[in-house]
């Protein structure tokens, strides 16, 4: 066997391919995990945009709009401490829920694939390969779920914004803030998913092949 140059990228491509095919085949479960993330992220994105708009009213809204809002008491209600803590709580719970959901779904995915994992280890796969496989898988789900959630959150936030502030909703947030919010949402969504996959991936990788293959029969 000629020891030609080793291309480290190759196994990555394979890892990615296998992970991706796995996701496609287990479509229903993939959908469940992804929707967990989507829901939480829709909520997060919505809150961030909505808060941003409310904050923007003070500096950027026209005099007419501010007067109308003051008259209707909308702003006061939205800025009340009570309302804010309630939102923070709900947000925290949503994110935690989605995190638990991800960990849970990944653990199930690991149990379902004990035999596959054991086989890969028999074929000479290292623990790190198995970890990569699961992290790639969660990365895919994280990106898709997050992107979807962000779109939903964005649409909801602006729909509400338009109904409250009229056409001015579009100008309440400067482009830089919009980008900042999008980036924050994206990274927390993907980060959350990958973090949730870490323990399941680790536990899958550290199984002995015999244990992995026995437990499914």
């Amino acid at each position: 066997m000629p020891e030609t140059e080793k291309i480290a990228i190759l196994p990555y491509r394979k890892v990615f391919q296998i992970a991706w095919q796995g996701l496609r085949i287990r479509l229903v479960k993939t959908f469940l995990v992804t929707s967990c993330i989507t829901l939480a992220l829709a909520f997060l994105t919505y809150i961030l945009f909505s808060n941003g708009m409310v904050a923007g009213v003070a500096e950027r809204a026209s005099e007419a709009l501010r007067q109308r809002l003051a008259r209707e008491g909308i702003l006061e209600q939205m800025l009340s401490a009570e309302q804010r803590t309630q939102t923070a709580w709900m947000l925290g719970i949503a994110l935690m829920n989605s995190f638990v959901g991800i960990v849970n779904a990944m653990l199930i995915s690991v149990t379902e694939r004990f035999r596959e994992i054991g086989t890969m280890k028999c074929l000479g796969g290292l623990d790190s390969f198995i970890v990569k496989l699961y992290l790639f898988e969660s990365l895919c789900q994280g990106i898709v779920g997050t992107a979807l959630g962000m779109v939903i959150g964005l649409v909801l936030a602006y729909a509400e914004g338009v109904s409250l502030f009229g056409r001015e909703a579009w100008t309440l947030l400067p482009a830089a803030s919009v980008l900042r919010i999008l980036a924050a949402s994206f990274f927390s969504g993907v980060g959350l998913t990958v973090l949730g996959a870490l323990y399941p991936a680790w536990s899958a990788a550290h199984m002995e092949p015999v244990d992995a293959m026995r437990s499914e029969v």
Partner: protein, 265 residues
Amino acid sequence: MSGEEAAGTVVSPGGEGEAGVDLLATHIVRAIGVRKIFTMGGEKVHALKGVDFKVERGEYVAIMGPSGSGKSTLFNMIGGLDKPNAGKVFIDEVDIAALNMYELAWLRCHKIGYIFQTFNLIPVATALDNVMLPMLFADMVQAEAQDKAVELLRKVGLGDRVFHKPVQMSGGQQQRVAVARALANNPAIVLADEPTGNLDSTTGRQIIDLLREINESEGVTVITATHDHKMLAVSDRIAWLTDGAIERYVSRDALDIQEGRADAR
């Protein structure tokens, strides 16, 4: 593959000189006093009760015995998939217990090819990808691995099923893919645990013949754990395992003579 004592008859286990005498012999597998105890619900199951088992390079050996006799347990010990409670297993004179995680993975990758009763193909991957996987674990360049995988699939008679997924193939075809995969990194040993257990009689026969063919053409040592009596006809040597101990060895020549009786067992 006529070994030193292949001249016929039944050889009692552990009868020959244990250590020292034939250290220079070409034993690809050497298990010495292997014991395995499982604890299940507080109760101890002695799955292997001090098994001595040697296999010569290029041999085709069948480990035969009824269900629950410890065949799979022995298979796992020899394959470096599980560790014995006592005793040692040497593969190519290397003590498996002394290997670290990476060396063990290397051994599984390069030295041993595994075949299972349940085929154990990666369900989401094509036949080609399944066969390529061990080569990629061995850091082979993709193009090279692909060519070799196609060649191996041709060799096992699946040249026209390269891009099929496991679900699109029959049991016999899946097991052929598994055979091709086991040969991916030119292993010295192919270990097969009940390779025909999930196959009908004819298909099982074909897999047995395929293994024999590979054994003869490549010189690969084949060790199968089985209770399929079709395996008797092709094996150079049979180790009868009963209740966690090797009861006796039967060589091929002896088998030919008492064929009827061996089959009747």
